[in-house]
């Protein structure tokens, strides 16, 4: 019998050799737990993320935008589905995972606890929120757990239009009427800082990060990804004539990066703790959909059982 220490070494050697871990492989309990937590949170974020955007499907200001938004929100449902499936490869059923969301035990990305107040928010979410998410997701295509990496490859392929459609909305608004431009700027003002918070705590305050990097679940640190995002987005804002709401933002010729202000971590912690503008509404909406769908799911199972029985008879 190989002892656990040895198994641990073999496992780490595999990771170091860039080999993927597959569901039936031995893995340290902490690795499994860490992954289940991270993938579930990711799945929940996709599904809860449908709510703020879905909020505007019936009000999209043109039929083209309505179709795009429908397709985009539908993609998020698909991404939630792929990720729940990845969790299921670790022996945790979708129902168990979803129960943790519905009971409020599991977390999801706090960004979705902010309200979508105007049409420009749909642009800002696509541009900034999906833009920030995709930084993480591209990194996760190389994550060490096979089913997670495969789900992410599919997700990244599909996501590629999400950020572009959002930026396009913002670009059109920014060169539209003064009211439209104001709407776009206001949305940028409200979504900028929460988007930066999406990358998580600073590296100095991120206790799980080191282990996640060692296991190659994560491959770049929160601060690294955040900085790349800022550098890219500032340039995009300039192109469409919008202003990033950070008076300290300044190009640093030495580092070749932008210097920028400070994130209000009190706000971040508050939203994470459940005190964001929409935490209660989001959970209530998910619970309502789940509860009201119970009889539908039940009917399908009952009918399938009857049909199978008749076929066997």
């Amino acid at each position: 019998m190989t002892d656990v220490k040895n198994l641990d070494d073999i496992f780490q050697a595999k990771i170091d050799a860039e080999q993927k871990i597959e569901p039936k492989d031995w893995m340290p309990d902490a690795y499994r737990k860490n992954l289940i937590r991270q993938i579930s949170q990711h799945a929940h974020s996709e599904v809860v993320g449908m709510l703020p955007e879905g909020n505007w499907i019936t009000r999209a200001p043109s039929l083209k935008r309505k179709a795009i938004l429908l397709a985009k929100v539908q993609d998020e449902a698909g991404h939630g589905l792929y990720l729940y499936s990845a969790v299921e490869t670790m022996g945790v059923s979708r129902e168990q995972t979803i129960d943790d969301l519905l009971s409020g035990k599991a977390k999801y990305s706090s960004i979705f606890n902010y309200p979508t107040l105007t049409w420009a928010d749909i642009g800002a979410i696509g541009w900034l929120v999906d833009g920030a998410a995709i930084m993480n997701q591209v990194m996760l295509c190389r994550t060490s757990y096979g089913p997670y990496a495969r789900a992410m490859v599919r997700i990244c392929k599909e996501e590629s239009f999400h950020q572009r459609q959002g930026y396009e909305i913002m670009a059109v608004l920014a060169k539209g009427s003064p009211e439209q431009k104001e709407m776009a700027q206001d949305a940028l003002n409200r979504w900028w800082w929460p988007s930066l918070m999406m990358f998580g705590p600073t590296d100095a305050n991120s206790p799980h990060s080191a282990q996640s990097m060692k296991w190659k679940i994560k491959r770049q640190s929160n601060d690294e990804l955040r900085q790349i995002f800022i550098d890219r987005t500032v340039q995009q804002a300039e192109v469409i004539g919008l202003t990033i709401p950070d008076p300290e933002l300044k190009w640093n010729e030495e580092t070749k990066h932008y210097d920028w202000g400070t994130i209000d971590w009190t706000e971040f912690n508050n939203v994470v703790a459940g005190n964001g503008p929409c935490n209660k509404e989001r959970l209530a909406a998910r619970n309502k959909a789940h509860n009201e769908g119970a009889w539908v799911r039940e009917a399908a199972v009952a009918y399938a059982a009857k049909k199978a029985k008749r076929k066997a008879a």
Binding site: K24, D75, S85, E88, R154, V301
Partner: protein
């Protein structure tokens, strides 16, 4: 862990992207019966014209080899290079071989 009997079972989905190609595993989903699994697969996994044909298999019917068998299963093929065409030396100038 006792599962709620009203949960839809899990299915593994295989999609053939073009006629003539193999069906490839693309992921999984839940459905109450095989017909629904095929239709859900159509809606979930072929939204971008990825598909030409769909196979669904109840996940509980998939049997897999064990990782700990990997050495005894696959390593014995290591030293049998003569199974590959590059193993053989062809006389200079011979064509179509």
């Amino acid at each position: 862990m006792s599962e709620n009997p009203n949960n839809w079972p899990l299915w593994e989905i295989f999609i053939q992207s073009k006629r003539g190609l193999e069906h490839k595993h693309v992921g999984s989903l839940h459905a109450a019966d095989p017909q629904m699994a095929i239709e859900n697969a159509r809606d979930v996994y072929t939204r971008r014209q990825e598909g030409n044909s769909i196979w669904v298999v109840a996940s509980q019917h998939v049997h897999a080899s064990r990782p700990e068998d990997a050495e005894s299963f696959y390593d014995p093929a290591d030293d049998k290079a003569y199974r590959h065409p590059t193993f053989y030396t062809m006389p200079e100038g011979a064509k179509y071989i």
